[in-house]
């Protein structure tokens, strides 16, 4: 999910500009208008390091089916100016079928753009904007683009009303005039771009980002307390959760650092409230000691890691899949825990919700590995079904003399008293302990508790949700997280050419499920892993922890650029020798 059943028809548009040009606003409005009209789409952005006024690019892909990957080339690039375009040039691939709208007052089209062979159309955006009272170039651009792709002007207007209402009548009037002016300008030139066919309007669909989706999944799962420290690109999870938690009776607290965040949620969870925090790689690194505490004391918590370029401070605004190792192996000692990876923006809802439910059921910390690509991309989706996985902690039926908090049970899960329950008192401890929770360095106790903590995960019935397994063929591609959508679309294209592959995208990364993977690989002769990691972390994980008997190869590269569909089609084709 979301599955696509045909090769997508899409159009990719980029709007670039700087110094308050408002390209992000224009891009967002374009997506929303397209959504209302009935298109699916996604919207990402790129920007310089300035907090405001820097160079920015809004990148939109509109399609006739659910889309999760960027297009191979941009069909339209509309540049309000060319400042620092070299920063984005590599993210804006163009071809000789692309159209570049350039403002002649901004100087010659830079080589890096012109060399693509794209058709350059000059429209004096600045001049046109000046002719309108309070007119803005980004609205002129919006008019140009929506006309180029023949987007129904009614929906464009609806979006303008909705977005600009709070800025007042003047802003709305000016924008309407600007959009009309842009539309006029391009129709005089007579250029058109083929855009996807629309079968039905967008009623009932959602526009949502991965970070918002993770927040929603958390609430669906039953999270009611969040303590967190802001960090790019996870801060939006917290910004969404703060007011929305309140609506369902929960609360969010900003902590002084990530060490406080993880400990606050451990405290709140110990008190009985399902709790969560969101961070990125550097924050997760700080949290590892206390995650171990949660493992040892069997206190459930959920940590959403919206991965970014690493290592260390890395590339905060770009994506990578290089926190896999720390999520899987970053805790000292033998500390089994859960790692869940959403495989699309839409899946951020389910995966986070599911993570909450399995964390609570097994009394184990769970890391949700999202990334910047998922987190900060807005997509149009069909509303995700609520599969009703909620937090359900096992609490003791009886307490009192002889109650053992960490009793060895068949499942490895022992009832957890909530403070306030008489007779259930125990001291949760990071020290190894006996079945009552008293510190112990005894051979027997260490063995028993280690077994308990790993058995409870190994024995747990995760069901089919451990992975998405799609398609038939003799070769399989295994990937995870944000790479999945791109692989999916690549395989769809190859399938249209009669080349069929199986796709396996594990959602449950820890504990490893070798038996289930073996089943998934039945009938498979060769496997390719694809991941956004310089050192091929996922490939090595599979090699080390799974029994993959057929030849296993890796295609890997680091961020900051996401995989493109065409790129992966080439990779898979070459690998499969077809």
């Amino acid at each position: 999910m979301p599955e696509i059943d045909h090769v997508l028809n899409s159009v990719s548009i980029a709007v670039t500009g700087s110094g308050g040009a408002g390209v992000i606003t224009a891009g967002s409005m374009l997506l929303e208008a397209a959504a209302k009209a009935g298109l699916y789409g996604l919207f990402t952005r790129s920007s310089g390091p300035q907090i405001r006024g820097g160079e920015a690019a809004a990148m939109i892909r509109l399609a006739d089916g659910p889309v999760g990957a960027p297009g191979d080339v941009f069909d339209i690039l509309i540049a309000i100016d060319w400042h620092n375009i070299e920063r984005f040039a590599i993210e804006l691939p163009l071809s000789d079928t692309s159209i570049v709208i350039a403002d002649p007052s901004q100087g010659a089209v830079p080589d890096v753009i012109a060399l693509s062979g794209a058709r350059i159309i000059e429209i004096p955006l600045k001049e046109l904007a000046k002719k309108i009272k309070k007119g803005r170039q980004n609205m002129i651009a919006l008019g140009v683009v929506t006309a180029l792709i023949d987007l129904d002007q009614d929906v464009v207007d609806q979006v303008m009303v909705h977005v600009l209402a709070k800025r007042g009548d003047e802003a709305l009037r000016a924008s309407r005039e600007a959009v009309a002016s842009g539309k006029q300008a391009i129709s005089e030139i007579g250029a058109r771009v083929t855009s996807p066919a629309i079968s039905a309007d967008g009623t009932g669909r959602w526009m949502i980002s991965g970070n918002e989706a993770a927040g929603l999944g958390a609430l669906r799962g039953g999270i009611r307390f969040v303590a967190a420290y802001p960090i790019t690109p996870a801060t939006e999870v917290l910004e969404w959760l703060s007011p929305n938690l309140q609506k369902v009776g929960g609360s969010l607290v900003q902590a002084e650092d990530e060490l406080a965040s993880i400990n606050m949620i451990i405290g709140a969870s110990y008190g009985g409230t399902p709790s969560l925090t969101a961070t990125s790689g550097p924050g997760l690194a700080l949290m590892t000691e206390s995650l171990g505490l949660a493992v040892a004391s069997e206190v459930p918590v959920v940590v959403v890691d919206v991965m970014r370029g690493g290592p260390s401070t890395g590339i905060p605004t770009k994506s990578e899949q290089s926190d896999l190792n720390i999520a899987l192996f970053g805790l000292h000692g033998d500390a089994p825990h859960l790692v869940v990876a959403p495989n699309s923006v839409s899946d951020c809802v389910f995966s986070t919700q599911w993570a909450v439910s399995v964390a609570e059921a097994t009394q184990t910390p769970t890391i949700v590995l999202s990334d910047q690509l998922l987190g900060q991309t807005k997509v149009i989706i069909d509303p995700p079904a609520d599969l009703a996985f909620v937090a359900r902690r096992v609490t003791p039926a009886e307490t009192g003399e002889g109650f053992q908090r960490y009793a060895a049970t068949g499942t490895g899960i022992s009832p957890m008293p909530i403070p306030g329950i008489a007779g259930g008192q125990y001291t949760a401890d990071g020290l190894e302990h006996d079945d009552k929770g008293l510190p112990s360095s005894q051979v027997k106790d260490h063995a028993t508790q280690l077994d308990k903590r790993s058995d409870k995960l190994d024995n747990y019935d995760f069901g089919d949700h451990w992975a998405e397994i799609e398609g038939e063929g003799r070769f399989a591609v295994i990937c995870w997280g944000s790479t999945t959508a791109t692989v999916r679309e690549a395989l769809e294209r190859l399938s249209a050419d009669g080349k069929n592959f199986r796709l396996i995208s594990p959602r449950l990364l820890a504990p490893a499920r070798p038996a289930e993977m073996a089943l998934a690989l039945q009938g498979i002769d060769r496997v390719l892993t694809i991941e956004l990691s310089h050192s091929a972390q996922f490939y090595h994980y599979l090699k080390g922890h799974f029994d993959i008997s057929c030849p296993l190869q890796s295609h890997h590269r680091p961020g900051p650029l996401p995989f493109r569909v065409g790129e992966l089609c080439d990779v898979i084709t070459e690998w499969s020798g077809s």
Binding site: E32, K36, T203, G204, R205, W206, M207, I208, E212, L216, L219, R220, R224, N244, L245, Q246, K247, V248, G249, S251, V253, A255, E256, D257, L259, A260, N263, M264, I266, G267, A268, S269, Y270, G271, G272, T273, S275, E289, S290, L293, S297, I380, P383, D386, P417, P419, G420, I421, A422, G423, G424, Q425, Y426, T427, A428, D429, G430, L431, L438, P439
Partner: protein
Amino acid sequence: MSVNSATTSAFSARDYKSDVKPVWCPGCGDYTVLSAIGKALAELALAPEEVAVISGIGCSSRIPAYLNTYGFHGVHGRSTALATGLKLSRPDLTVLVTGGDGDGFSIGGNHFLHACRRNVDLTYIVMDNRVYGMTKGQPSPTTEPDWDSALSPGGTGLRPFNPLVIALASGANFIARGFSGDPNGTAKLITEAIQTPGFSFVEVLSPCVTFRPDQRDWKKIVRPAPVDPTEDIGQAARRLMTDDGFNLGVLYSGKRKPYALTKHEVTSDMTNLEQQFAI
């Protein structure tokens, strides 16, 4: 505090002692702090299951297991954060935080500052022995600059923290100093600390008999503070300027409103909430 009355508390101090035998060196000040906590809880008639004691790492952090309340023996330096999360989400519980000077002021320094600043209704009892006892005798942030040790021969040469100064500057609403050699006095301070809303900080000088045998002299040096408690921060600050670290009693008892989460009523079911994403 309470006056002689005919009513007896439902609990005695011994009711809070668990079956776990403390492993502290005989002569350790922490024994009397443990008993003082029991006396305070008994005096306040708090049911053991309604109390949670949160600690970090160190000799004094072993206390939760020696009480039969709920407890959490967490990682080094993070007890105030863990306690904050617990108390904010469970305001019905009485939450105590216990630990030593290393746990609280070295690795825990940042969280200590913010706990004072946040002023959540917690009681933080620090057993200050001016040494890292558990790891065999290194200087702590409250150690005198000339105290000789293996890791800092000749002394650190660093000026020690005065935790009361930091607590006052950071916003703690109740600040006191006790001495383990005065168990009833300490019990009284802890009782008042728990009763006073907001972040209550009690530093209890608690000699380490093994690594700081020189602290045996403390009982000759400590004295009741020559002034009454104040609710004026400025006055408290001026008093601290002449504090040699051995004045006992309540320094400051303020009226700062404790921080607690607003209890939000459920105003939306999930279906309604999700409408915000609809196109």
